[in-house]
């Protein structure tokens, strides 16, 4: 795999009120790899993700995504960057007032000039890829937890973005659904060449999909590197995470 950096985070720190949530966080993610950001609940994983997505302003440090310094983007540049990213939210983030088909087609409707029939065909293809047949006209509230996640993944990848972010994709899923979702994510990387950044603390999932891990503990990076190095790490927290 090429060692081209797609994400570079340097010295990222964040304080909310009097609470320091991130302290000098630095790591890189590489093209074509699955990078897993992991750590215990409350360690700052989701805060890192929100900084990467531009949902939080950067207080201190530098974040570059696909060669764009995200603190230095105007509205149009930010929009162009978003079009190259797919985001999969922990609870799906599907708009509950729209059907699954409308949700997945939304980015295509808003950002392309394709006709409705073609958009429908593309959406049905993506849903099929996610093993979701017959849900086009259903509302998110009518789907099971696993189906909801897969529908959200279909929306995240409907524009075929080169970079996909997933926030706790396995949360609330049973082991079989989780394994199936992991398989889909790995297929996306293999078939579409996507670079994927995943926030999770599911050890079984990490062992299946991760190429590289970034371990956060209490807002600090305590390990970053290849998964095989993490498994052999002497760091107590990292060792305990994988071996207890």
């Amino acid at each position: 795999m090429a060692d081209k950096k797609i994400i570079e985070v340097n010295g990222l720190s964040a304080t909310f009120g009097e609470r320091e949530v991130l302290r000098d966080v630095s790591f890189s993610a590489y093209q074509g790899e699955v990078t897993v950001i992991l750590g215990e609940s409350g360690s700052g994983k989701t805060t890192v993700l929100k900084h990467l997505l531009g949902l939080y302003d950067i207080q201190e440090g530098y974040v570059s995504i696909l060669d764009n310094d995200i603190s230095d983007l105007n509205e149009e540049e930010q929009k162009d960057l978003y079009l190259k990213m797919g985001v999969f939210y922990q609870n799906g983030g599907l708009l509950n007032s729209l059907t699954v088909g409308e949700n997945v087609s939304l980015p295509l409707e808003q950002h392309t000039h394709l006709d409705d029939d073609l958009i429908r065909r593309i959406v049905l293809t993506k849903l099929q890829l996610m093993h979701l047949n017959g849900v086009y006209d259903m509302f998110p509230s009518q789907l099971s937890g696993g189906m909801l996640k897969r529908a959200a993944l279909a929306r995240a990848m409907v524009m075929d973005p080169p970079l996909l972010f997933c926030d706790e994709p396995g949360a609330g899923l049973d082991p079989i659904s989780l394994a199936s979702l992991d398989k889909l994510i790995l297929n996306l990387r293999k078939e579409l060449g996507m670079s994927i950044v995943i926030i999770t603390h599911e050890v079984s999932s990490i062992l299946r999909i991760a190429d590289r891990i970034v371990f956060i503990d209490e807002g600090k990076i305590i390990f970053t590197g290849k998964i095989k190095d993490a498994l052999e790490s002497k760091n107590k927290e990292v060792h305990d995470f994988f071996h207890i």
């Binding site: 949902l55 978003y82 079009l83 985001v87 983030g93 509950n96 729209l98 409707e109 929306r155």
Partner: protein, 376 residues
């Protein structure tokens, strides 16, 4: 309810502990079920003691749980008041491990703040209100109004048919309730006035009273209050739920502007439908007044309408319409503002929904007074 089992080996509290010189020796077990008996007994002993206790010895203790640890630590805190230091000593490794595990330490106070004077705290409250509410409200207002104007002819910033959906939700669905309540209010105002006017032989002035009050004041105000209650709350709840469930983040990361995508169609729907709802409210209120004028003051519809033509000026109608437009903007802005400022969780959604309704109705009444003063 299951009563906690008393694990103590002894029924006599004196045997659970002993005090020699300045040391309190704990024995047997100190479990949740023992505390009701143990704590008063120890306290009674300590109260009658001359010398302060400086040591709690756990060597004789066989069992302890989290409640027991809490009781020992609390006892230590109480004893420290009478002596410089109290040490907890002895105990098997298992007992010491539990003491460590269940020890609760007060988090250090974040900042030692001196007590503020009344004026300082009032000024700080005002500044917080200014930054947390006023600045953010007017920033949102500027954003929403800017995009509402620039997006009038752009359909790609929101979903197809969204304006129509919002017009139906905010306007069309409110028609029945607004018609019914406006009719009743017109009827009641006329009824209350009729008797007074008849005493003075001024029956015909019922028309002036009803028409002007409905057109300039009651029609727009009743409509705005009902829409604030119905749609203001719905807007706040919808946006708050979207924020809590990451839908707004998802919209943003799909390279869409949440204000243009979610709020602007509501603003358009509201601005278009509110004047029509207000006109309907005016008409229904006047019809209610007309009914009473006919039944109680013998003023027939023809006379009523003729008099209405003499009384009513275009200015009155336009002021009513202007008010309805201002109210439409304020209701959507207030609902959106509180929806966007929700804190996490279902409780937060309920809270901002209530706040949105109360504030929207208050702002509408204040705006009504200001417009009334300007166009008096």
């Amino acid at each position: 309810m299951v009563k906690p089992k008393i694990h103590n080996n002894s029924k006599d509290p004196d045997k659970d502990f002993k005090i020699e010189q300045s040391t309190l020796y704990l024995k047997y077990s100190l479990l949740l079920g023992d505390l009701d008996r143990w704590i008063p007994a120890v306290q009674e002993y300590i109260k009658n003691m001359q010398d302060p206790i400086t040591e709690i010895n756990l060597d004789g203790l066989k069992k302890i749980d989290s409640a027991g640890v809490a009781a020992i630590l609390q006892l230590k805190d109480e004893l420290i008041k009478n002596s410089k230091d109290v040490k907890i000593v002895g105990g098997s490794p298992s007992i010491r491990k539990k003491i460590g595990l269940f020890s609760y330490q007060e988090p250090p106070a974040s900042r030692d703040r001196r007590r503020m004077s009344f004026f300082e705290s009032t000024a700080e409250s005002f500044l917080n209100f200014y930054h947390d509410y006023m600045v953010r409200y007017f920033t949102l207002a500027a954003d929403v109004l800017y995009w509402s104007v620039t997006d009038i002819f752009k359909s790609r910033t929101h979903r197809k048919g969204e304006f129509y959906n919002q017009a139906v939700l905010i306007g069309v669905n409110a028609v029945y309730i607004i018609c019914m309540l406006s009719f009743i209010i017109g009827l009641v105002i006329a009824l209350q006035s009729a008797a007074q006017l008849r005493n003075f032989g001024a029956n015909i002035y019922i028309v002036d009273l009803i028409v002007i009050s409905m057109m300039r004041e009651m029609g727009p105000l009743i409509t705005a209050i009902l829409v604030a209650g119905r749609s203001g709350s719905a807007i706040a709840a919808e946006i708050a739920t979207m924020k809590v469930t990451s839908e707004l983040d998802a919209i943003k990361t799909m390279a869409l502007n949440p204000i243009r995508f979610v709020i602007v169609p509501k603003m358009h729907g509201s601005i278009i439908t509110m004047p029509f709802l207000t006109i309907l409210a005016n008409v229904m209120g006047i019809l209610g007044g007309m009914l009473i004028a006919y039944l109680y003051l013998d003023i027939g519809p023809e006379i009523f309408i003729n008099r209405m033509g003499e009384t009513l000026y275009n200015r009155d109608i336009l002021i009513g319409i202007l008010k309805s437009l201002v109210f439409a903007v304020l209701i959507v802005l207030t609902g959106s503002f509180f929806g966007l400022n929700v804190e996490e969780g279902a409780e937060g959604v309920g809270k901002v929904t209530t706040q949105a309704v109360v504030v929207a109705i208050s702002i509408v009444i204040i705006a009504d007074s200001i417009i009334g003063l300007i166009f008096y």
